[in-house]
Symmetry: C2
Subunit: 442 residues, 2 copies
């Protein structure tokens, strides 16, 4: 066969990068579990009608079909698609299993998702997300909206990455404000303001006029609201100074004050109220979150989410939720691209056991067994070549130690191939320095 080539939008990390990714995922998972979130995985596929139920996402879905299935043109009602996020499958899971779950239900979910978008920098067709969500039956305490940034602050703070800033807003502020100034289609207004970073205030004003029927004064007011940003409750004064009054607006301000103040109490500097944050997806109804990595702001959000009151409901049953999602592939893609993350070696192996000759491979296997039984990652040399060649095998992979089984009654010896130092050692006792045991990520 001819040499295969990459497929645009479907990234593959090197083994070293995958070691870094696993380190990152382990830290994220530990943090989620420290906060009492239970793990969940959902299947990769959902019925197409589920995937198309909310928001402007229809263009992003990948359909699947069996190669041997009848080719009969467009997908039928029972068509399956790959999930494009983890929130929609989670909402479906909650409805399907509501009778067996304890509410409020706290879960985390770390899985690949797929979107049939045109690939571009920082955008992938297959990527990994790490989500937390809390759903309750009928009503969900607003304090959970304040809880999300604390968990994310801890999770991202546990990683060897630049500090982050979580930008928060509340849909009720935007919707209440838009209504308060007399706009009748707040969703259209939201969608226009969501494009502020991309197309600038002038074109957003045009869009507000075109799609939300805003007058010049109304568009100006929307833009004035979007410009408000503060790390504390003072954003509320700035909103009120715009002179708009609406009960939903007041409710939103109150909720957002709580989010910002809880964050300031727990992690000063982590959160900022930023009233331009809208989030494109339609299902959010309260607090919304975006997250920028300091120094990487131009690449957009690496962790986003919000509160949704209507995503999981069936008949009279209603399961309001709040969630946030770390874009792991996006985060790592940025940092790998900048050379900002590295690992101390290319393999997990700490010790390579040399093989004196093929007849004595069994002796080397026994040394490896003894080292592994004490938690020391160990390989046996793939060949009984000259020791110089076996040492180079270790060197090329960054394996720090080579072990030489003693022959004819002599003691075993272990060599630190970085310093060249070589000492007598017993496989049942020798232990490497702690920092050499596993690859270090930094």
């Amino acid at each position: 066969m001819s040499k295969p080539t990459p497929i645009s939008g479907f990234p593959e990390w090197t083994p070293s990068q995958r070691m870094i990714e696993q380190f990152v995922l382990d830290r994220i998972r530990d943090t989620f579990e420290l906060h009492g979130f239970a793990p969940l995985e959902t299947r990769a596929v959902e019925p197409l009608d589920q995937l198309l139920r909310k928001g402007e996402t229809s263009k992003e879905v990948y359909l699947i079909r069996r190669l041997q299935a009848d080719v009969d043109g467009p997908a039928g009602d029972d068509a399956l698609g790959l999930h494009f996020d983890l929130t929609v499958p989670f909402a479906r899971y909650v409805l399907e299993n509501a009778g067996r779950l304890q509410f409020p239900f706290r879960r985390y979910q770390i899985q690949k998702v797929w979107r049939g978008e045109r690939p571009q920098e920082g955008r992938y067709r297959e990527f990994l997300q790490a989500d937390i969500d809390i759903v309750d039956r009928d009503t969900l305490g607003a304090h959970h909206e304040a809880e999300m940034p604390l968990v994310i602050g801890d999770a991202l703070g546990s990683l060897p990455i630049p500090p982050v800033r979580i930008q928060v807003n509340n849909r009720k502020i935007c919707e209440g404000f838009y209504r308060g100034i007399g706009l009748t289609d707040p969703e259209a207004a939201l969608r226009a303001v969501d494009k502020l970073d991309k197309i600038g205030p002038g074109r957003v004003a045009d869009l507000l006029a075109e799609t939300a029927g805003a007058s010049e004064a109304q568009a100006k007011a929307c833009l004035a609201l979007a410009e408000i940003s503060a790390p504390d409750a003072s954003f509320g004064d700035a909103v009120r100074a715009l002179g708009v009054s609406d009960p939903l607006l007041d409710e939103g301000i109150e909720e957002l004050v709580r989010v910002v103040e809880t964050a300031a109490d727990h992690s000063p500097g982590l959160c900022v109220a930023d009233l331009r944050i809208a989030r494109g997806l339609d299902y959010y109804t309260g607090t919304v979150y975006e997250t920028q990595m300091i120094g990487y702001e131009r690449f957009g959000s690496v962790c986003s989410g919000g509160r949704y009151d209507n995503l999981a409901s069936s008949g009279t049953a209603r399961f309001p939720g709040v969630g946030i999602s770390i874009g792991v592939t996006r985060l790592l893609g940025l940092l790998f691209g900048a050379g900002a993350l590295s690992v101390s070696r290319d393999v997990p192996t700490c010790v390579l056991v040399a093989v004196v000759n093929e007849e004595q491979r069994g002796a080397s296997n026994r040394v490896a067994d003894a080292l592994r039984s004490r938690g020391i990652p160990t390989e046996v040399s793939p060949s009984a070549a000259k020791f110089g060649k076996q040492i180079r095998y270790a060197e090329r992979r960054g394996i720090p130690y080579v072990w030489f089984p003693g022959v004819e009654g002599a003691a075993d010896e272990v060599k630190d191939i970085r310093s060249g130092g070589q000492v007598a050692a017993a496989a049942g006792e020798w232990t490497p320095p702690r920092e050499d045991l596993k690859p270090l990520v930094g």
Copy 2:
């Protein structure tokens, strides 16, 4: 929306089962890393021509296409499908990245795969596999074929599951023997013998006659070979007693003796030479492996693989490999079905911090912070209901401790809700017994 229902063949574990699965995956991964395998993930999709390159797999592939793509009938040359195993993508990865990899290359890979099969007991359309492979450039030492069962023995031996028996065979024995008795299509013969467990010797003999052109005597010889089984090198004597001579047969016996004897040396009782093992996929060329869980033999193999010399080759470059794959979903599906695995609680949480009233939620948050900073998984109560109700929240999830923040200068107290015992405690010092810290799997 109406209540969603499961999709046949796409299993979803409960959060408790997912905790067990994660425990299992952590153990498997630790073992793979102890043996010096580096992690790799490949994308979920491969070009269709890659997927159809080898073996009888075309009926199993799921194609993907963008919902918005033109519907133009059958898939074109650039069609993408979901991978149905991790070996074919790995072979492709090796070819694509050969210039950047160090050989021999040892990698593990734990990912979902998809097969468009009709679902039946123990068969899934989406399932998780945990693979190890070693590939080298040009030639691969036969000792790596003996190494695979040792790694798998350690990995599965680290789990709270029934003991396993790895059945090994060597394609060279079958092919050499079939040639030695004058059959000209050894692959057809292999495929017939592979059905022995399913359809029995009588119908296999018929199939050998129909598809491999075997005479009655030849079919009888094939079945006699397939009946040979021994935990040690004595299988070789049994083969030779059948009076067939062929150089490939001798080579196969020698290689299989090495696998069985190495295993006996390392893990007595783990491996047995079983000459009925054929493996359906065409790409194996040497040792093949299947694995039965003792007491669950009727469900078939939970861990299979083999040596493949021709899967990864491009022009003059050739990368022979050997690998083995743990069917994690299948293994867990069997054990969950039998109620043979459990976890000590339904959430990671060790401590629930009670909330005295909503105004003092901040105080409870600070207790939780202090406990988490010392690695104790902690939740704050979702409501400031009566303490009895908050305790029931913990009870229903199996959370062992409830923490009561002291009011008006009183000390905090922590209650073990199983015993009812309650003691004064400081969040910066109190530590639960080790066995309560995390959910226990057994």
